[in-house]
Symmetry: C2
Subunit: 157 residues, 2 copies
């Protein structure tokens, strides 16, 4: 395929730099994925990203999407979120934050927690923790109203 002829968006410079700095090559496929992830707050799955990428660059392989996401995660440019429901979500927001997942639609929201280190944790038994990840459960704003409209994520029973 003539992927190199497709130049849709400017790839976020930061990720491009990070890849080059590690001796990794910056291909059009990767640039596209960088741009799709940039400021993306939907916590997409690999499959979801692939669907969007395919429209913009027909022929791109799901394998490539996984590869790039794993590379980004390995270099800390992506947070991997293991949410209920099977597939892994990827979060390009690398700021220190946490998540709230809606019990009904399954959607993930970024939330920020201020005073985490003030928590009193017991039963650590020698465990030395250096970070924490919180997932809040409940109902998102949309699903609290009588007629919930979206069902964006499949949930296993």
């Amino acid at each position: 395929m003539s992927a190199s002829t497709v130049i849709l968006v400017l790839a976020p410079a930061e990720l491009t730099r990070a890849f080059r700095a590690r001796g990794l090559k910056v291909t059009p496929q990767r640039q596209l994925l960088f741009s799709l992830l940039h400021c993306n707050e939907t916590h997409p799955t690999a499959e979801a990203l692939f669907a969007v990428a395919s429209k913009l660059m027909p022929g791109i392989s799901l394998r490539t999407v996984y590869q790039t996401l794993n590379d980004l995660a390995a270099m800390g440019e992506l947070q991997v979120v293991q949410s209920a429901g099977g597939s892994t979500r990827f979060d390009p927001n690398v700021a220190d934050h946490h998540h709230a997942q809606c019990d009904r639609c399954g959607e993930l929201h970024d939330v920020y927690v201020d005073d985490l280190d003030r928590l009193e944790v017991s039963n650590l038994a020698g465990f030395r923790t250096d970070r924490a990840r919180i997932v809040f459960g409940g109902l998102c704003a949309a699903c609290q109203s009588p007629k919930p409209t979206k069902k964006t994520t499949k949930q296993r029973s």
Copy 2:
């Protein structure tokens, strides 16, 4: 197989009662699983439970293990923990608690957090939370020493 002739341990009465109360039957397979889960702090996977159960009751099916675990989870007698590394872990500790996962060996430890509701959470945007689940990351006591000994859980790279 003559499963009914195997009576290894007293099934925890609570789970037996809970099953009967819902019109579910209490079979030798279930009794065995109840007893394997009782006071079990290893956060086993279905596969791990199946391995132990198979030794005590040869012929028991992995399908049955999944079925029973799902039943228990559905009735709230089991906490389902979606840990990094693919497979689901099951936690018979239904007290309000959280987890610490070791970066090296992957093992999960129960921890207790006292003042969760004092956390200041921002960016909720209408999300109404009713619970939180925290997973701390770090190193367990065993893996902090120079020669870590166990590698009980496989971790994906």
